[in-house]
Symmetry: C2
Subunit: 320 residues, 2 copies
C-alpha cells in the first residue's frame, strides 16, 4: 500500500507546498484513489506515477477551496486526455451543485459520466480499488469527514482444518469459498466464504482525515489503524494566538491523541503557509512539538513524496 | 511596459507550461493587470515579482476553464494574504454567476469587495493602472474578446509654441493644462489640456487576444499596436487534421495576418499540449511555420518569462 502527497499546505499554496490532495493505492492494483483535490492537483499529478485514466474514485473531505478547487480542472483534463470510464465522486452534498454548475457556466463537456455520492447518504462501505472505504464525521467550520481505507482481498489460504470441522469436504464448493462467496451447504445452511480464510497478513488500514479540531472523534477507528494522516495546521503556541475559530488541530493536540490510542504511524500534514522559514516558523518546530507527546513513528508529509506501508504494517518514506 | 506569462499551454497544463494567464504593467506603475486566470495562476505568481495586493484589475477573455479555473482560488488567496482593496473583474457575464456561486458553495469569504463588469456592457475605455483598455470581439466556440491596452499618462511637455499661438499666457492655467484638465479661457471658450501637450513618445499599445480562429477581426486595432499576443494553438498541418471545430488559429494563419497589418512584434502563445517534444511536435515547428510568413519580430511565449516593450516600441525578452 502506498500514498503520495500532491499538497501539504493549508489555505494557500507556498513555493514548496501545494494545497491538499493525496493519492492512495494498493501496490498490486492499477487503480488509485484521490482524496481531496486542491487547486493545482492535476499539475502535481504530471510529476507523479498516477494516471487520470486509472483514477478509481475521488473522495472529498469538505468543501473548502484548498481541498476542492482543483476538482473541475482535473475532471476536464481527464476528459481532454481521453478518459471514457465513469467516475464516482464521494463528498459533501454541495459538490453535486458545484461541479455541474461550473461545467455548465464554463462550457466544459466531459467525455465520461460522473456520479456524485453525498457522504451523508452512505450506509455501507464503498468497495473500490481493493479497499473498503468508510467515513468518520469530524469537527470543522463546515461538515467534514475522514475517509477510512481498509485493505480488501488480501492474500489468503483456505482454512482446511476449519472446513473439515464444519464437514465441508474438498470439492467445487472450496473454489467458491476461496473467492469469498456466500455458499449454500447440503443441509441448506448459508456460510460466508471469507469466514473460512486464513489471512497471510492482517488487513491494513489508513485513515485520511480532513480538517478537524477534535482528533478524539477518530478514537474508535484509529485504535486499529496502521496509519493516520491528519492535519497539524499550527504549533500549540500559534493555535493559542489564532484562537479556536479556524477549527484546526495543533501538532501537540494531534500527537497527544495519537499517543493515547497507541497509533503506530502518524503522518502530519496541512501545515499553515507561515511554516517554511526558520526559527519558530520552521517545519521542525511542528516535528519537535509532536515528538514530545508521541512516541510512535512520526512523519511530516512532503509534496510529491511517496510513503509505503509494507505487509507488516511498517511505514517508510520512499526516496523520490 | 512589461508583461509576464503565467501560462502558455492550451487546454491542459504540461510539465513545462501552465494554462493561460498573463501579467501586464507599466514599469512606472506599482499596479498590474491580470489577463485570464487558468488553474495554477496563483502558484505561478509565487515565482514572479507581482503581488496580489497590487493587482489593479482582472480581465477574462472567455469562460473556458483553461482561462478562468484559477480565478476563485486566486481571489481567496488574495483575501487570506490580507488584501482589503476592492477588485474589479471584467469578462463574460457568466463570471457574475460562477464566482459568487463558487464562493457560496465552498464557504469562501473574501475580505475585500469584488465587482463584475460584463464585457458586453462596456461603452467606454476602462482607465486602470495607467492604461486605457478597450475590447475587440473575437471568434471562438463561446463569446470571446481581446483586451487592448493603450498607455495613458505618458511623459509630456507643454507645447509652449502652441500655447502662445492660442494666446494663453504663462500663468496658473498652464498648471491645469499640464495636468490634462479642461480649461475655460478668458473669452469663455473651453480647451482640452491634452491638446497642448507635446508627447515625449507615442502612446504604446498591446493587444492581448483570447482564443480566436479569425485574426483578421483584430485588423483595425492591430494596425496601430506595438505588440499582439495571440494564440497559435496548432501548426497548419495539425489544424487541418483536427478540423475547424475547436475554432483556434494556426501559426501560419496568425503569421500571415500579422505580416499583412505590418505588426512590429508578434507573440504567439496558447500552444497545444502536444507540443513540447521533438520532431513535428517540437515548439520549433510552430516558430518555423510562422517565420515563413511573418518578417517582424517573432516571440514564442514561455512561462514565467518577462518581455519588455521600451519607449521606442522595441520588444525584448528579459533573462529570467
Amino acid at each position: 500500500m502506498e500514498f503520495t502527497f500532491f499538497g501539504t499546505s493549508a489555505g494557500t499554496p507556498t513555493k514548496a507546498r501545494n494545497v491538499t490532495a493525496l493519492a492512495l493505492r494498493l501496490k498490486r492494483e492499477k487503480n488509485w484513489c484521490l482524496i481531496d483535490c486542491g487547486e493545482g492537483t492535476q499539475h502535481q499529478l504530471l510529476h507523479a506515477p498516477y494516471s487520470l485514466a486509472n483514477l478509481a474514485a475521488v473522495f472529498i473531505t469538505h468543501v473548502h477551496g484548498d481541498h476542492c478547487f482543483g476538482l473541475v480542472g482535473l475532471l476536464a483534463s481527464a476528459s481532454l486526455t481521453g478518459r471514457k470510464a465513469p467516475l464516482t465522486i464521494y463528498g459533501p452534498a454541495a459538490l453535486a451543485k458545484f461541479i455541474p454548475l461550473t461545467l455548465e457556466l464554463t462550457d466544459t463537456y466531459l467525455c465520461y459520466p460522473i456520479e456524485f455520492v453525498d457522504v451523508e447518504s452512505l450506509d455501507q462501505d464503498i468497495e473500490v480499488a481493493g479497499f473498503a472505504v468508510s467515513t468518520i464525521r469530524l469537527s470543522h467550520r463546515v461538515p467534514c469527514h475522514a475517509w477510512h481505507f481498509v485493505e480488501r482481498n488480501i492474500a489468503h489460504q483456505l482454512d482446511q482444518e476449519k472446513l473439515c470441522q464444519a464437514g465441508i469436504e474438498k470439492g467445487p464448493l472450496w473454489g467458491k469459498i476461496q473467492q469469498g462467496e456466500q455458499v449454500c451447504l447440503a443441509d441448506g445452511s448459508l456460510i460466508n466464504g471469507r469466514d473460512f480464510w486464513r489471512l497471510d497478513n492482517e488487513a491494513r488500514s489508513i485513515i485520511v482525515a480532513g480538517d478537524n479540531d477534535q482528533p478524539e472523534l477518530l478514537q474508535q477507528a484509529a485504535a486499529n489503524a496502521n496509519v493516520l494522516i491528519h492535519e497539524a495546521t499550527y504549533t500549540q503556541a500559534i493555535a493559542d494566538k489564532v484562537g479556536p475559530e479556524p477549527m484546526h488541530s495543533s501538532a501537540m493536540q494531534l500527537a497527544k491523541f495519537a499517543q493515547q490510542v497507541a497509533l503506530p504511524n502518524l503522518v502530519m500534514t496541512h501545515f499553515s503557509a507561515r511554516f517554511g522559514g526558520e526559527g519558530k516558523f520552521s517545519i521542525r518546530t511542528l516535528q519537535q512539538e509532536a515528538k514530545r507527546f508521541y512516541h510512535g513513528e512520526l512523519f511530516l508529509a512532503e509534496d510529491l513524496t511517496t510513503y509505503q506501508l509494507n505487509s507488516k504494517g511498517e511505514l517508510s518514506k520512499l526516496k523520490p
